[in-house]
């Protein structure tokens, strides 16, 4: 059977409609392999893209290069040992990973940490957010060829990491949260130093706002690129700044009752209507500012008292199931913990934000140009440990 020219052109037109391919210039397709080692992927994410000229026909992310099987490992460990594992999921905001797991265990045990512990948890949670997002704010410039912002980001982020280290002992992996409270209290002089650093963080945000957001090249490469409609984002389970940049006004910190101290602060959840890369950057920049304000307010009102509730030495969690999620820097992170009354969880499903955030990539990259692949991936902002777990 021969294929007529008409059939052939209909086929091409159909393909073009699917992937918005330019048919005026008929070029031979090419498969391009990005990664697994690529600076834009923040780790080892490999993306196979099929190109027609400069446009993407389809894209297929290949993950698993860093899969460590945490869900299986949690089943052979005890509850206090698991914070060490979950530290390494999103390694830029390790402390924020510990919190929902500990809260899930506390919910099942029916114990509550004392107020001071909850406040310090919230402070460190927000500092983890700052440490995480400042890197994104700088890195985004680097993806567009501007080297300076990334150095600024590392410079100012260092102060936050120093504070986290002085409080917890770990720069990257604090392992500081305990069932019923915290490992230690804050060191002397920490509160004052933290206030200085929060001031610095806000200065950094102002600096980047003038340096990057006002830049014409930056705006041209980001505005109208990688647009995610709210409904599509929800369908894929996008969360955090990615979905707020599409106009969905949802922040678990504000909208759900949590034992943590956000409800005592005055702050704002920012959304953007555009849903493009620029909006995602803008929302994250505002979020960093808000986080520093939250820390400031919590430092002012830090209650005195114990940092540890009374818990048994051997922690056994009563049988039951708990789902606890928090608004982590990358989006919604949650743990579905199934306990059978033992020393360790029977099953622990880890719902990490980046997994869902990256699953939209095949849809989002269809029809975009090659240079935009990098900016779109960066603007989604994922951490490989958060995808692969």
């Amino acid at each position: 059977m021969t294929v007529t020219d008409h059939q052939k052109s209909m086929y091409i037109a159909g393909q073009a409609a699917d992937a918005r391919i330019n048919i005026e210039l008929e070029t031979e397709g090419m498969t391009l392999n990005i990664g697994p080692q690529h600076p834009a992927t923040h780790g080892t994410l490999r993306i196979v893209v099929r190109l027609d000229g400069e446009q993407v026909v389809w894209a297929d992310p290949v993950c698993g290069y860093m899969h460590r099987g945490y869900e299986k490992l949690t089943e052979v460990r005890t509850y206090p040992q698991i914070t060490t594992l979950v530290n390494r999921i999103d390694w830029l905001s390790s402390f924020a990973n510990e919190v929902p797991f500990i809260l899930a265990a506390e919910q099942l045990m029916g114990i509550d940490a004392p107020p001071r512990a909850q406040w310090i948890r919230t402070i460190l949670f927000e500092m983890a957010r700052i440490a995480n997002i400042t890197l994104f704010l700088g890195e985004m410039g680097a993806q567009l060829g501007a080297i300076t912002p990334v150095f600024y980001a590392f410079r100012d982020r260092e102060h936050v990491l120093n504070l986290i280290e002085s409080a917890t002992g770990g720069r990257f992996h604090p392992n500081y949260d305990r069932i019923g409270g915290l490992k230690d209290d804050l060191p002397k002089g920490w509160v004052d130093e933290c206030k200085d650093v929060m001031h610095r963080v806000r200065d950094f945000c102002d600096e980047l706002e003038t340096l990057l957001m006002g830049n014409e090249i930056f705006a041209q490469r980001m505005r109208g690129i990688g647009v995610i409609p709210a409904q599509v984002g929800l369908d894929y389970g996008l969360s955090g700044a990615n979905i707020r940049a599409s106009g969905v006004d949802w922040d678990i910190r504000r909208d759900e009752d949590s034992p943590l101290a956000w409800k005592h602060c005055d702050w704002k959840v920012w959304t953007h209507v555009d849903g493009d890369s620029y909006a995602r950057y803008w929302v994250r920049l505002q979020e960093t500012r808000e986080a520093s304000k939250i820390v400031d307010q919590l430092l002012d009102g830090l209650p005195a008292g114990p940092i540890m509730a009374k818990v048994p030495r051997i922690i056994k969690v009563p049988a039951g199931e708990a789902w606890v999620h928090t608004e982590n820097p990358l989006g919604e992170m949650g743990y579905y913990v199934v306990s059978q009354g033992g020393l360790g969880p029977f099953r622990c499903k880890i719902r990490s934000a980046s997994f869902n955030n990256v699953s939209i990539v095949p849809w989002l990259l269809q029809g975009v140009y090659v240079p935009d692949i990098i900016t779109i991936l960066s603007s989604l902002y994922f951490i490989l440990g958060d995808i692969d777990r």
């Binding site: 698993g64 509550d112 909850q118 969905v248 048994p312 049988a319 039951g320 360790g344 939209i360």
Partner: protein, 238 residues
Amino acid sequence: MSSAPDTEAAPAAESADDASAPPPVDELRQGIVAVFTKDLGDAVVETEVANGDVWIRVNRDAWRAAGESAKRHGFDYFCFLSAIDWLPNPDLSGEKIWDPDPSAGDGSTGSTEQSSGVAGGDSRFQVLARVYDVRRFVGVTFKADLDEAHPEVDTWTTVFAGADWHERETWEMYGFNFVGHPGLRHLYLPGEFEGFPGRKDFPLLAREVKPWPGLVDVEPMPGGADDEPAEGEEVAAE
């Protein structure tokens, strides 16, 4: 300091053991249960509202209908989809690591009885998925029992596009077949991997070969009911 009354009130309401203080009726979540019971009819096997959360267990034939119904009723944020293997395996649990009695390793301790979680269950395998309403800020966890020999259920990819990767992960980790999924390929594991590592009968070889090194840190506390026995033999064996 204003948080103190809240934190003290919470455990009494949430504690599962405390039967004397029944938690207040959660009208929002009871309403959600009523909506789904009406919509899905006989397909709803069991429901539970606890700890400010909703669980609905449905027939496996109604799995996709449950997803579609959820989306119709405003639960359009797809949170996750995964599986639970209820097979008891005392060899592969936190107990074995801590229990110094060598005779315990052969399955004589720990529960060998298959249990089921919130909203019950009759089979070894359960698929569970969670959806969320970003306007009312409330979520629902759906569960369905699957056949042990041939775990198979309809795909949710036609309802929620985000279910694609979650079903691929569940397929490779638990061996569930999602009928109608556009391409069940390996997501994390290499293509030639055999077996389903998420299942409870899949051994964790690292632990079989070498005991958990954290064991040596366990020191007995003098006195107290929670006192662990001494660890002499295990430490010496290492």
